[in-house]
Symmetry: C2
Subunit: 117 residues, 2 copies
DNA sequence: GTAACCAGTATCCGATGGATACCTTCGGTC
DNA sequence: GACCGAAGGTATCCATCGGATACTGGTTAC
């Protein structure tokens, strides 16, 4: 069953590569409370550049994880919103982020002692 | 609580960046049944090159996720094994891979129709 | 003497990520 | 009527990283 992920040709692996992307994870977290505009996302997610954010959002939209809705207004308004498929990613992503928060001290301690000794 | 992950300076974010790496995920899966040697890992994980596998294993060891044990034998033998910390990553990673397997069809269908339409 | 075994390095190259600057359209301001 | 600012991006350039391929070193088996 999970052996498939080891085969680079396997679709499961392709999906893993996409959702394993660090920006995708943060985008899903950013959209968990409803639609957000481009600049809102850019401001929420520290350190992301507009080019990379655009690439990430386009790729996620192509994968059916979110929708991109353009309002014909001035100044322009574009809203991104998770699809039900994208919503279903919340739980596993929360599992990862919860792990990170619970074990960040252990990891950082290990990383420190690896440097010094 | 989870807002921390949005700050690039936050340790939680640093941890996320590491465990979000696609090779790290596959290494954890590869080691779930016990220790493995370097070439075993290289062969299990399709598409990984020795250089990148070495980098990944070294980084994971520095973060305390696995141990590297060198046996003074000829030919050389090196075994990698998850630490308890690394073992604790199994559950969240399974959540992600299970999601990928369950929804791979939806994602691939969306990706297809994004290409054609 | 030479070939194989294992666990990596060494070297090189193209793709990717990131920083910075710029564009567009419109409405409001002076 | 020139100018500025807003939003949502592109354009351009450069550094870094990932990946492909080749090679090393010590020992033992042939």
């Amino acid at each position: 069953m999970d052996g498939d992920a080891f085969n680079p040709e396997c679709p499961t692996r392709l999906v893993l590569d996409r959702i394993g992307d660090k920006w995708s994870v943060l985008v899903v977290l950013s959209l968990r409370k409803g639609p957000r505009r481009f600049t809102e996302l850019r401001d929420m997610i520290g350190g992301v550049t507009p080019k990379v954010l655009t690439q990430t959002l386009r790729a996620m939209a192509a994968d059916g994880l979110l929708t991109r809705h353009v309002f014909a207004e001035v100044p322009p308004r574009v809203e991104y919103e998770l699809t039900p498929l994208g919503q279903s990613l919340q739980a596993p992503i929360r599992a990862i982020t919860d792990w990170a928060e619970q074990h960040v001290n252990e990891v950082m301690a290990a990383r420190e002692s690896a440097l010094t000794g």
